[in-house]
Symmetry: D3
Subunit: 185 residues, 6 copies
């Protein structure tokens, strides 16, 4: 359950098509569970939304500048992947709280002062499950009131590293917790 983390330094815009089988692999990650971090605009039009709630509401996603994380898992089903997605958002929350930011979590969303900080979705492919998390670097030109890392004076890459460290430790310690107990009858 070790996660390969790849920090892709060049700008890369997210339009939804990056949420596909082996995306991190084609960007240079070794085979296995992975997280690729990159920075770029986020624009997903209605045709590329995988969230049926957003699609039915005809609600495209837009942000001028975001910190993106795409994770891919090869040994958990979609429901467990949603649990992992929530734990990832908890790592974001705890990292923000640790820096004194009064953040709140509602499901897979993080808010600061009622302004939305992030977008996230989890889905399945034929060979894996996938999570996308986008965190605002800039809060300009967003369809809803948002807050961004820029507003909070947080450096994106350093923030990403800390969140990924927290999440990697979380996933590893969950695996150890699963492996250290006797069964009961």
């Amino acid at each position: 359950m070790d996660i390969h983390c790849l920090f892709h330094q060049n700008q890369l815009d997210y339009d939804g098509t990056q949420l596909r089988e082996l995306f991190a692999r084609t960007m240079g990650c070794p085979a296995g569970d992975s997280a690729i971090v990159f920075r770029g605009a986020c624009h997903v039009d209605v045709a590329h939304l995988v969230d049926s709630a957003d699609a039915l509401a005809q609600q495209p996603i837009h942000s001028d500048d975001m910190l993106h994380v795409i994770m891919e898992f090869f040994s958990v089903d979609l429901l467990a992947t949603v649990y992992l997605q929530r734990l990832f958002m908890v790592c974001v929350l705890e990292e923000l709280l640790g820096r004194g930011v009064p953040a709140l979590r509602r499901g897979d969303d993080i808010f600061v002062d009622h302004r939305k900080f992030s977008v996230s979705i989890a889905t399945a492919s034929r060979v894996s499950t996938l999570i996308h998390v986008g965190m605002n670097i800039s809060s300009r030109n967003t369809p809803l009131p948002t807050v961004a890392l820029g507003d909070l004076a947080i450096e994106p890459w350093e923030f990403a590293r800390h969140v990924l460290d927290r999440f990697s430790r979380e996933v590893r310690s969950c695996w150890e917790a699963r492996c250290k107990v006797w069964g009961v009858s």
Copy 2:
């Protein structure tokens, strides 16, 4: 994925043998995923520990008075149950934070000012998976420095109800998140 919650009002001490198949069922819960809440001392001697780390350290568990939650799930494996256990502890954390208590989470443990607030374990039976969470009501006579609901002036049953509400919503919204997405290729 709806969880039947049973608040068992009579005192009931926990000695580890309650962490067994269909315990909530035999206490009056209907068949299905369940959470039973009760209050009583906690004493698990080394022979009844299911955590091999505690057993190898010969470290029995003791608390004079605890708020106990035993949950049983019938459709998730042990690793996903550990993820649910973490999400439960996050609900405890967020409930404490919401009340102004400066709590911190480390894995499945909650701390306040470096004092331990809770114990928790997840395991599997032949027909289900199980989680025990014990939260101190009193901090007297514990082997480690602890903090308790009593110290924080929090009423145990009312606290339990809020935490269980949070967790039930979390589990339900995870299920909906799992069911609302199109796959990708």
Copy 3:
């Protein structure tokens, strides 16, 4: 394991493309296990058949007027979905028998006096499993000898409601049966 049932009142013809991820969801059903009921012609040409037996036999499906049910499940695999499909057909059988119709089941087909009453298929998507059941309302213009709800003087919507009720109870009681037993060694 509760199934959201949606009775879609407007005519809707079935051509095979409705058997897809989140079809009920896009028709207005909430996220989760679902059954959508609708009425319309049934015409699936060879290119849209998911049943390889029909495809190899080059046997398109046609009926002028059918009662359609499309079900989607998010927590069972394809083999268990076939079991559920059979149990659904048993509910149809038992509902017909209860009305005095001398129906017989052969696998996932229902016959009355050697005439075919229904078509059915179960398959998997990337995020779910799916079942289609079509029951003849009219027996005109079918490639094989058929019997229809019209011939049996049964009102389609009322029939659908009774079958769905039976099936929902069946699925719920299976879940309870799964959750009420101690394991053995």
Copy 4:
């Protein structure tokens, strides 16, 4: 998914302890999915009940003479095993109906004229899942009003053979149905 059927001719009483890992194997069945059929009294006292509903109601099971079937499966989980149990009871129902007996099914129970014909339970072991079905051969000395094969003038072994044939065909055709379809997206 082929089921080895063993017809054990010598009398063998059922007291609940036969519902265990590899019982059919130790009676001479080859390794693999199995059904062992035998005849004998049925008496399960409260301590050996695996059904928590019966145990909580303190309701032992008794019949002077029963046709017993114990099935063991090695590749389905407990929920799918409950589906198989229901399909087995449907085979019993259809076999009775085919002989002109006005039988009815309610969940995993078969009734004739409001009298109970059968008992059944499904559970899991560490290596398999198991189903017990008991069908009355005699209706004397039962705690509830019952009907028996003797009352219906049905020869038990011949009846068992027909039911097992139906069920084997059902299971095989479910497997083929699962394997003959293209997926959808």
Copy 5:
């Protein structure tokens, strides 16, 4: 777990598109786990590679004449399918060794005197898992140094029959080994 084997006598070239859901079924195999054996050239261009390592290396696959086996499984996940793929290559290895050929295995590749004998890949579809194995009949025009059945004076069809026999026995005996043990605690 019985595998239907189909020996397709007419020449059939492999270009990667044969590795799809129900390919053997559409060639005449009954529904269920299957292995189809055929002979023909092998040419998979970069666009049709499912192996991301080959795709990233821009390495098309070519052989003038190969013995092909495509297997499809309906009850194992992708990781277990990779285990089965390895066991299949072990059957190839042991068959060669039994004929006095000094073959060696490295993962899913077979070598003779440092020359490559075979190519292989395992992947998943929406309804099954699939394995392709190609074994050189001719060693002409291959991008790497290869060895072929022709060089070893081995008749391809007879070789295929022996390998498939070994593999069928292996898979069956694995299933029996899985079904013959009591659990432990």
Copy 6:
């Protein structure tokens, strides 16, 4: 899928009770997939056999001196564990062949000149799956004709290290093979 290997230097006899949940853990291995290697006599009487074939044949297992490997896995089911057991025996086979020993494999048994070299079994616990492999160090006092590492002039610990290395690489490369492919439709 990394396997912690523990070489336990002190003599330890195997009587079947070591094949239990978390045995390696209680001997000092960290939580997670594990292989513990030790040396000692092997005597499993009929009451402790988990293999029903041996138990029905009333065939106890005995060897004066064996190299033992007990492996425990926390993320594969019993059938996949049998596949892993076979792959382990293949690693033993290939290691022997690489040293010029004319070994043959039949299922999970290794033979040299028709003499048995090893015993092996795979089973499941409530929280894991387990494999035991015993390889003769001495061929004295065995119930069947056997061959031993001593007869082959192979040092047991050095042999164990090479076999475990092979197997660890095998398991890791299977995982990578599972994670490197795009799905098909």
